[in-house]
Amino acid sequence: MYAVEFYIFAFLVLISAFLSVMVKHILYAAFCQIQAVVAMAGILAGLNAKFVGFALLSVTATSLLVFLVFSLIVFDFHQAHAKLPEKASRSSLIFFILLGVQTIYMFFKPQWSIRKPAPDFSLPELGNILYADYGLCVVIFAALVLSSMVGIAALLVRKTDKNGEKP
């Protein structure tokens, strides 16, 4: 029954989002966020939009990795050494098993339907629409992203004087 699988994934998304708000340690919050994103990618894969699902996964994995590095190492070093609960290994094991099961399921599961057979959201179809109908949007979005990245990089460059020392 296709809708049951949707409900399971939606339930996983909601529970993970709830836990990501509720847990105290930022590491666990990021883990719950990863779980929510993986479940969301499962829903997208079920809608026959696997490319968007994998794009979401890769973008979120990168951004959350950077987020964890910054939050645990750069900004709050003490929290990285804070004592984790004793049941951390057990809950981590359950978490990774759940992630693995969802990932395997996404690979082998065909699409499920909402009211009728899901339309084709494959990569050629999306690329065709993206560059035929939304070409201007893509260009504007790319320019915005590029300008924001350049602006951020320019802001982060440390100014030094002639001797190479920071002011």
Binding site: M1, Y2, A3, V4, F6, Y7, A10, V13, L14, A17, F18, S20, V21, I26, A29, A30, Q33, A36, V37, M40, I43, L44, L47, N48, A49, V52, A55, L56, V59, T60, T62, S63, L64, V66, F67, F70, S71, V74, F75, D76, I114, R115, K116, A118, P119, F121, L126, I129, L130, D133, Y134, C137, F141, V145, S148, M149, I152, A153, L155, L156
Partner: protein, 102 residues
């Protein structure tokens, strides 16, 4: 068994609600606010994707692709700004962020 529109709207509303709740609950921690913002983006992405499948129109999937990219950019840009603030003040306290000058 059919996935109804109210179910879709409920799930996306709950995601946005959890995001807003996270912002209010962790308003003293900028990093947690960033995580909560990602939840709001996830809710909108879910809404676009499900609407796209519901109406058999790929535009929603395209927009969810944009949202996924925007989430990553937002995270990285925010972290860079936080780093800028952290270099200046050696800590991240949102109450003092209005003192930051360009």
């Amino acid at each position: 068994m059919i996935i109804d529109v109210p179910v879709i709207l409920t799930v996306s509303s709950f995601l946005v609600f959890f995001g807003l709740w996270g912002i209010l609950r962790h308003r003293g921690d900028l990093m947690r606010i960033l995580l909560a913002l990602q939840l709001i983006f996830l809710g909108s992405l879910f809404n676009f994707s499900m609407g796209s499948a519901l109406f058999s129109d790929a535009s929603g999937v395209i927009f969810s692709l944009f949202i996924a990219c925007l989430t990553g950019v937002q995270t990285v840009a925010s972290l860079a700004l936080f780093l800028l603030y952290f270099r200046k003040h050696d800590r991240l306290i949102p109450d003092h962020i209005e003192k930051m000058k360009g």
